[in-house]
Symmetry: D2
Subunit: 347 residues, 4 copies
């Protein structure tokens, strides 16, 4: 059973089924096709505002290009130290934007207004100028920002002329958890660009970069082209995104993932095991030694082991649209048994 | 009828049919999956040599990353002025590699040994140092390099320590035209890295970057990651490439495209119309005024009009695995009628 | 005798003498010193307009940073194929700005309105968007733009939203030749940023980047810092620039260099030798075989031999503030004797 | 009295006097001159080994280019969080090398073997690969590494194939403090490239990039050119470096600076004031409130106030070759008086 990530499961059959129609017809290349136009219109309806929209194949590309667009060739991007752009993208933002990341620690991977550095330009030429504030929704620790939490952060950014990027690789999980509308969790809360991930929610591989002010996106297609992210059959990415959004599948998919995580949380707590962070979206961290983690893998439960920002070592398990209740029960049971052993820490 | 490019037709049903199996199972992310491993093994058999292989979503990414890997952060890339990397990729090679392109004119878009600049380092610090020779196979003018032609170019490169990249977005069409083996048209002729395009031959969107010396590729996955080209479900790209290669579909698909172009060539010549370049692969250029081109579009035949390197204005029509004989006949007829009119050149 | 360039002679004693005073006192670092402030004020008086000013150590840095500032991280820089930024800076503009150069051929190294490509954005994502027009004043072929010639070029640029950069490494020579005022040859003619070179006119090594609209320069000091061009004792560069400008030394120095070139022109023509281009600033090109050029060097006259854009091979000789009349006479005599020999062309 | 830095005092008269000779003769441009060749020979003697040498105008350029050369276009640079490259260069290393910095905290700004992260390639594509270890000698906290301390760090680096850069902006101060030879503190201890700063020791503005393995430097002049750091009269930088090295002036200058700092240390301790770090080179940090710092400035003692890595606020005072004993006594007295006041912390 695979709990490594919500991208190691197969794509959702519901999404695949809806893709069939698009595959039989020719379309203009380079995202100038009708499927992309329809996807843009659909997103505008969902977000209750005219948006600009671009499909890309990977979340890393979505984040790096969106931030490069907002930052210009110069700047400092304020983000959490546990954010994907800082911890897991091998310098992609820096590569695409020439900006520098400024990681903020603490608060279990969530930014809070008090943790932000001064955002106004210090004028000190030895240092950079903050240009972008980047939020992960939900966070890499499995937490969801409430609308008012986002507002409290973006107000400080906007007052200083700093733009706001949201890494929404698991935005749907945050919607499902908070019950807020897509608009409330994004532009109404001060977000300028949202990278909405469909891959982890059931698409094969497709992410939507959504600009809430179309003038922000004016060089974006050229930036995509120049970096090799504007392919011929972009309509296939749009088709996936549309299929994933259709009939609220994206929300149902996210709700299921969250529900499986919540179930795991309950089962673990029933065994006296406390996850490291509150379980809000679709992932759970459990403190565990390296030896216990190896044991858990040997029992057939794939997962990642990682050092947490606070130094604790924990396994991360992620649930998805494809996770079954019986799998979660088996996992809870296995974790319980692993933690009961005294397996020592491996090197 | 759409003759704009071999990427505006729908993907080949043969490829789509073979994809179904892969879609139902989970796989490791980031190209560490079994489908990618099997595709690498298949390519090694086809190219009669152990290769290193990486799937990417766009041809631009394939070219830019492959050249960046060979060039290092510094250098000059010698290519034809009609090459895609110089004329159609918005600076992607420069962006990824920090190298500079040095376009060579003449010879209908084909490089010949006499057209190459000195490739050895002049030592002049005001100029760059040639690091990569890039060949397009087949060329953007529809010509195919024979093995001995490639050898005559790569010998000069290798003597100067310059590495050789082949943009093989239509490599299969060159195979079909020359009758040479994949090995004869690539590493046996001195090519270091081949970007083998499956997109235009029937896949949805997938290109294979093939290094013939695995040590050349040592940072490649990180370069993919840093530039946002290493996605979660890379196996879906590998699955497309494998499906396209299976049962020689790639060669049959290319042969069909070439045959349709050859048919068009014959039909036009029968009407006294001489295409601009010898028709070897799957595209034909016909000199035409802007007005006549508009007329051709209005008659329902989509195509591109472009200024040729020598200044002549011509329409380009591209055939593909999806082109029907009746479509070609209709197109030949329409071109004949357009050219018979005296429609003037538009601004 | 050294005619290789106007930067191989020693700095002008007049400049060195005026530097002594500044060397004995401490100053704030990073161009926040009083000498730099005074130089800025002096330049504002000379150019009859409040300017923003930054000293740098090399002409390549001046050009690359100024263009990077105007272009942003994306764009196409239109320039002559004989411009220093295209032919002699090893990709510096591309490195600093990520823009791409678009070289224009013809007109003996001078741009004319008819030679400009369309400057408005084509919208074609495969190509770049022109962002900067770059003029060399005087040109690398020794010609000077008249004010109305500059206006005819900048009007097209401004109409398309394209900014104008002037590489003024020999701006003073153009002033001396045209008799125009500094303002007439720069902002009044539509120039946005001027890189005014003092090095070739008598300073040790100092160039002034002059923005005519201070808001254009807002990230410039940080760009200098990030690229390593903001040193501690920037006041020493400003001191050189001020010393060079004082008492119109810069104009007298340029007039002398031009006069020496004009003298050489007359002496050569008297011998029936026609220089390749009209002699306006301080350099002369004479067609010559490689063998004759070697002979000229052996006779003690250092110079460069270069292939001209039109394919002819010519020696370039440059005069400067340090050139003596007797040296010019000796050179004219030597050229005459070299050309009289039938020394064959070397490889 | 100016204690802000050792670059705000005037250049040393001893250096200026020795410069005069070089200023009267012409020289080849672009660092191919005889003065640079002689400086290289002199450095080879001083370092007891054939070295490759390049002069640059700023310390930021020296560091960024040297690291870019060693790192290639990809990598992670391990350094102290208080290093100049991380804290004070506005992203210059990242700009020139596309590498990412990995700052290490603790140990009062000094790296120790136990503080180093794993240097061998983890193979994890989401993270970078360490390519360069950067040491500041002396550190930005005023400490000097002993030869054996350097060895203990570089051994770990070399074992992992990681190259070693030394920011030697105050290398001479470390020589003076440790009594070691230049060779012992550099290549004999495992350093691959040393950026030897002359600016802060008495030159106007000149830094020597010294490669101990000449093959490491093979693209360096082109990297200098491309980034605008290869100017015409590079010989003027070499002349400064040679003048500074002559007759051991560089060591005498550093010894004087260190001695002035040691005197200040003694005088402060006599007043019961403990500097934050051991005083080894030429700077001292004293904990002080913002209000007290303002007071100190008002009393005529220029200095910088900075938050230390551990969060304490302190004034930094730097002594130099130009500092007088009476100035130090006056400063000690003034600091004593400021600390005696209860001036509150300013915002």
């Amino acid at each position: 059973m695979d709990f490594r990530s919500d991208n190691t499961c197969p794509p959702a059959p519901e999404v695949l089924a809806r893709l069939q129609n698009s595959l039989a017809v020719g379309e203009s290349a380079y995202a100038e096709d009708e499927i992309s136009a329809a996807t843009k219109a659909r997103l505008s309806r969902i977000f209750e505002r005219e948006v600009d929209y671009f499909p890309v194949f990977t979340g890393t590309a979505a984040n790096a290009l969106a931030i490069a667009q907002l930052s210009g060739s110069f700047g400092e991007v304020v983000c959490s130290e546990s954010s994907h752009i800082f911890a897991d993208e091998c310098g992609a933002v820096e590569f695409h934007s020439q900006a520098r990341l400024r990681p903020i620690s603490g608060n279990m991977g969530k930014l809070v207004p008090e943790s932000l550095p001064p955002l106004t330009d210090s004028g000190d030429v030895h240092r950079g100028r903050p240009t972008v504030l980047s939020l992960s929704q939900s966070t890499e620790t499995g937490l969801a920002y409430r609308p008012e939490e986002i507002v409290s952060l973006t107000q400080k950014a906007r007052a200083a002329g700093v733009r706001v990027h949201m890494d929404g690789t698991r935005f749907a999980n945050a919607l499902a958890f908070t019950g807020a509308t897509p608009a409330e969790l994004s532009w109404q809360a001060g977000v300028d660009v949202l990278c909405l991930g469909a891959t982890k929610g059931g698409a094969i591989g497709a992410e939507a970069v959504i600009f809430f002010s179309p003038e922000d996106a004016k060089e974006f297609r050229r930036m995509m082209k120049r970096s090799g992210h504007l392919g011929a059959r972009m309509w296939f990415l749009s088709a996936q995104i549309s299929a994933w959004l259709e009939d609220d599948f994206w929300l149902r998919s996210a709700r299921h993932g969250n529900m499986m995580a919540a179930l795991l949380d309950r089962l673990l707590r029933a065994k006296g095991i406390q996850p490291l962070y509150p379980v809000e979206a679709n992932m759970i961290f459990v403190e565990m030694s390296a030896g216990q983690s190896v044991r858990l893998s040997e029992m057939g439960f794939l997962h990642y082991l990682a050092v947490q920002p606070d130094g604790r070592i924990a396994v991360r398990v992620v649930t998805s649209q494809a996770t079954l209740e019986t799998e979660v029960e088996a996992l809870a049971d296995a974790i319980g048994r692993c933690l009961a052993t005294s397996a020592g820490r491996l090197a």
